[in-house]
Subunit: 331 residues, 2 copies
């Protein structure tokens, strides 16, 4: 009886799906937040070509791998990477147990909100900040810390939760690709375990489709329970030439579609598009909208875009002018 | 018109699916190659519990992660790991360009078919063998080499292509889990790029769901084409305590179902089952069938199973007696 009922529900669902999609297909624009223009038509004509069985550019569904950078491509990255704010908030929370930090860089800079002094601590200071705040606990504990932080933390100038500072046009693009049987991945220089706790809910991208930078973890039995402990040692930097390496390591297929926004994405875009005789897609989010978001490219410390613009021109990549091409920025 | 036709086909497919599955569910045993017994009922009752929404052990589909060791769990591993035969065949093929190998271990041992001398070269010799045969080319070239080898290579004693030496009962298990919305992964000590070219066709497991050991790869532009070059340097050993690390790194979720066959899988089985208050499954393929396959456990060099048997008893893991519980071994 149960089986029969569940079968009937299946059939009803099928019919409902049929009616809904038929109705929807007649009217719906899959990218409503994108103005009609060069980028939108480049995206839709690419998707049409690789999904059309009669096209010489047809790609079978299992090979429809789409990769997206995160910072500056799916969510904002100014005035600093959101993961840096996470690390700074962690320092403030941990400070009670570390009275010595009052006179010790880079912690002093964080506690005093002195971004200039923090920048002066250089890469060494940043790595120390990350290791202190991202290691020394199990990965389950770290996940809980990230989730809790996201519930209350707010962007310093936009005063919104960070997960609301994602780009609506890109969310639509992710949905559109998945509706066309693409498998969507994040390939980010950000920390893999910093992203995984929320990417499924926010982007519809499950943990196993997130590639990122990582620190070393170690397996241990603690009180008879198996745990992974996060160690203060770099494991993998998923940036620049590391991105194709990360893609190969985690995904094991060459993407046919890639989106980035900075020179850190250059090699990923090259790896995706160059050397193939078939149609491939590379897109760059160009931050041109100082009013609704932030305007920056060649001279920015975070998300610098310089070579990428040159290569885009040379290779026919799609450069999205946020100001002109996006109707809205955030959901 | 095209859209309407494709919609109609969708509906027809739905109805067809309904009729076929309804007919099938009444009669079909999802694990026909398994004799009714302890292991089969442990598997099916676990799957029923975690897929039953009214059960306290219910697990939502996205968390239904199942991990499988490969050598000795999904295909045979005797008299030596198949990847070792691959390396040896490569040496023979490359020997014409390396006259010095005639007097140089471990190559001499391979060329003379002297397994004893090869074993005597120890881990150092094996690593040298692997690096010589697995590095020094692009990953696309390596994939082509593996595919070509599989087309002609034969097992030294069973005289069959290696990809036919997979376990039919395990293929059924993979299908059964996937039919119940599990996502199936390989987590093997074997080389990740040695497995990925064929796991989709043979096991239905796509490259992005294969976790394995790896060597370092490096991104390069060669004649304007982006390639990944395989370097003779270890990157990650996905064995023993490395397996939970690999699972976390690649999948980012703790599995609820794991299958192995040797002490190399112990930590993966612990990581999957211990410390959870909910129902979890760990299985061990016990090689008890010297007639139809190979019989080995505590004293074997390849796939030694010793601690695993003790831990299985202690933790209530399922130990599959191949001889008694499997109707057939190979497809």
């Amino acid at each position: 009886m149960f089986r029969l009922t569940s079968r009937l529900i299946s059939v009803s669902s099928c019919l409902l799906f049929f009616l809904l999609t038929t109705a929807a297909m007649a009217t719906t624009d899959p990218l409503p937040s994108w103005n009609d223009g060069v980028s939108k038509s480049a995206i839709t004509s690419f998707v049409q070509a690789v999904t059309d069985k009669s096209s010489s550019d047809y790609v079978q569904p299992s090979e429809r791998i789409a990769v997206f950078d995160n910072d500056g491509t799916l969510w904002s990255e100014q005035p600093a990477y959101f993961q840096l704010y996470f690390a700074m908030d962690r320092v403030k929370e941990m400070a009670a147990d570390h009275p010595e930090w009052k006179n010790q860089q880079p912690f002093q800079a964080v506690l005093e909100g002195d971004m200039k002094a923090l920048a002066a601590s250089g890469e060494k200071g940043l790595v120390e900040l990350v290791m202190t705040t991202h290691a020394g606990m199990t990965d389950d504990e770290f996940t809980a810390i990230v989730k809790k932080w996201l519930q209350t933390a707010q962007h310093p100038t936009l005063h919104k939760p960070y997960t609301e500072l994602v780009y609506k046009p890109m969310l639509e693009l992710l949905d559109y690709l998945r509706a066309n049987n693409f498998k969507t991945f994040i390939v980010s220089g950000g920390g893999i375990e910093f992203m995984r706790p929320w990417t499924e809910e926010v982007y519809g991208i499950p943990p196993e489709q997130v590639v990122g930078s990582s620190i070393v973890t170690k397996f241990e039995m603690r009180d008879g329970k198996p745990v992974l402990v996060r160690e203060p040692e770099l494991n993998f930097i998923d940036d620049k030439a590391g991105k194709p390496v990360g893609i190969n390591q985690y995904i094991g297929r060459r993407p046919i579609f890639a989106f980035g926004n900075s020179d850190g994405d250059l090699q990923m875009l090259q790896y995706t598009t160059l050397g193939s005789e078939k149609k491939r897609f590379a897109g760059i989010v160009h931050h041109t909208d100082g009013e609704r978001e932030f305007a920056y490219d060649r001279d920015s410390h975070m998300g610098r875009l310089d070579k990428g613009l040159i290569e885009a021109k040379k290779n026919g990549w799609t450069v999205v002018d946020m100001k002109k091409e996006w109707k809205v920025i955030y959901p």
